[in-house]
Structures are given as structure tokens and as C-alpha cells.
């Protein structure tokens, strides 16, 4: 597995005068701006893996993050994932903290591949930035590594 891009946004553009929006600016209510973890990751397996198994792994991953957020009483802004194989079969997965919605291209269910691109964004109100990164990265790694066997 190779990490292609691992970046998170800052709330202010680096090249501009820093603007720290207060909770009041953003929400007109008590709270904080969200922590955001956003990553593109290549998932490469020694053998082909069925799209349905990748779906199930990512559902478990999103469930894990969702349940962690609920347990910590964090508000899920949005967790969303887009995965594609080299034939452009794809899966779109999203959750706002309750159920997890899946939509996929026609070919996804029947497809198998050894190479996937996983694009993952988690926007959550409450945790510190680095804590969110740790938790999300750990869930992604755990589920993708489990697909190796």
C-alpha cells in the first residue's frame, strides 16, 4: 500500500493574511470549526479482491469512525469515500453519523481488481486535528490490510 497524498486543510490560506474564523463566524453558535482529514491512498493487493469485499471493508471503516465520534460526542459533519478500480468501476460511500449510504457504478458489484484508489474525507466537529488524523488513518489501514489475506 502506498500513500500518494496525505494532506489536511488549514482554515486559512497559507499565503494570505491569516484569518481565524471564530465559532461565532462559522456557526453563530458555540462550537468549533471542524477537524478535517482528507487523503488519497492507493490500495494494492497481491491478489485480486472483489469490489464487494472492498465495499464491506470501507463500510466497517466508516462505521468504526462514526461510532468513535458518537462515543466521544463529536458531531459528524460528513464522512465520504470514493473508491475506483483501474476500469473506473467505482463506489461512493457516505455518512452523516447515522446510516451509511452506498452507491456504485453498474460494474462495481461484479468487478475484482488488485488495484484501487481510495479517496477519503472525514469532517468532524470536536476532535483535535491530529487526533482525527490518527483515528481515521488507523481505521483505514486496519480494514485495507485485512483484505490482503
Amino acid at each position: 500500500m502506498k500513500v500518494l497524498k496525505r494532506k489536511t486543510i488549514s482554515l486559512a490560506p497559507a499565503d494570505q493574511k491569516r484569518h481565524h474564523p471564530s465559532a461565532e463566524d462559522l456557526f453563530h453558535a458555540p462550537g468549533e470549526s471542524p477537524a478535517v482529514y482528507s487523503i488519497t491512498q492507493a490500495a494494492q493487493f497481491p491478489q485480486v479482491v472483489a469490489g464487494t469485499l472492498v465495499s464491506a471493508a470501507l463500510v466497517r471503516c466508516v462505521e468504526g469512525i462514526r461510532d468513535w465520534a458518537a462515543h466521544q460526542r463529536h458531531l459528524v459533519g460528513h464522512i465520504k469515500v470514493f473508491v475506483e478500480n483501474e476500469n473506473k468501476d467505482h463506489l461512493w460511500l457516505a455518512s452523516t453519523g447515522k446510516r451509511i449510504n452506498l452507491q456504485s457504478s453498474e460494474g462495481w458489484e461484479g468487478a475484482s481488481s488488485a488495484n484501487y484508489q481510495v479517496h477519503f474525507t472525514a469532517i468532524i466537529f470536536g476532535p483535535g486535528q491530529s487526533h482525527l488524523e490518527e483515528v481515521v488513518a488507523e481505521h483505514i489501514q486496519r480494514e485495507l490490510i485485512a483484505l490482503h489475506s
Binding site: 486543510i9 456557526f27 453558535a29 470549526s33 478535517v36 459533519g77 452523516t96 479517496h119 474525507t121
Partner: protein
Amino acid sequence: MQLVIFGGFLGSGKTSLILSLAHHLVNREGSDKPSLVILENEIGEVGIDNKVLQAGGFSVKELFAGCICCTLTADLVTTLNDLHEKVQPKWVIFEPTGLAYPKKIIETVNQYGKGIERIVVIGVVDAERWEELTEITPGLIEGQVSSGDLVLINKCDLVEPEALAMIREQVRGMNPKAEILEVSATSGIDTRIWGKVDEGSQA
């Protein structure tokens, strides 16, 4: 160019609704010149929505804004003016972040945008999270609802009719002028609803 702006909280269904509107517009316009461009401003370095929309076969441009609340301004105006000069699409659909106030966007576009004949603002409400969100972030939700020419109460498949009636009443209180419709993006949108966005564009 006709500009359609979708305002609504994170996960309310903006992208799902844009997919539906884009299909409607492309089908209706036929296959002449590129008639539709979608502009995306997402939170997070990696765009998910642009991939979803591109997979749907649409032309998408990403706007990069470092600050979630200031969002865009410069980049949006530059992109719109560039589209006006080079592409001249009939329709531009813009999805700001779920934390943006559409009012600020409209002001900026009115002040600096070129070649925009009409702006339609669609407020998207997440019926499932209405109670929670109006409690946690009432100012933002009201800002997103009150700017809409049309307000779509989305995910109505997930709430009971009584709850829906209450949401409608509160939405009405925030925006007395707008047409308010209950929809479910994932169950399909009646083309008559998108006809409302369309109407006035033929003149």
C-alpha cells in the same frame, strides 16, 4: 450564463441533487455545445464530489479555497469570468461547502461576475438532521435556508409526515418568499421540480 447555487449543510444532499439537475439539463438541452459546467468547492484537500459528478459524465471544475468560511470569492469570480470568456456554457451549477453562507456568494457574484444573466439559489435542508442542526448551528442553517429562491427539504424518505410538516413550518418562518418542496434525491426528483429552475431561462 445562468448560475444555480446550492446552499445547504454538510451532507444535506447538494451533490445528489446536482446530479439529478445536471441530468435533467443535459437531457433537455440535447448535445449541442458544452452547455453545463459544475463548480465544486469542497472541504478537504481531496475532492470526493467532483469524482462523483465526473463519474456521472459531467464537466466539473474544482475551486480551491483555503478558508472554509470566507470560501472562494476570488477563485469563484475568476473562474466564472473565465468560463464566460472561453466556454460560455448556458448553465453553471455551483456547490459551495456545507459551511458557506450563500448570501456572501451572491453578493460577490453580483458585484464582480461577468456575463451572468440570472442566479437561482436553491436551499437544501437535511430533513433527517433538522432538529439537531437547528439546535447546534441555527445561524448557519437559517442563513442557508433564507437565501433560497427555492428550498428543497431533502431526505423526506427518512422522516415521518408530522416531522416534515413541522420542518416545513419552520423553514417557512425563515424564508417567507421561497417555494418550499419536499424531495428525496435518492428516490428520484420529479422533472417538474427542475422545470422551476429552468423556467425563465428560455426568455
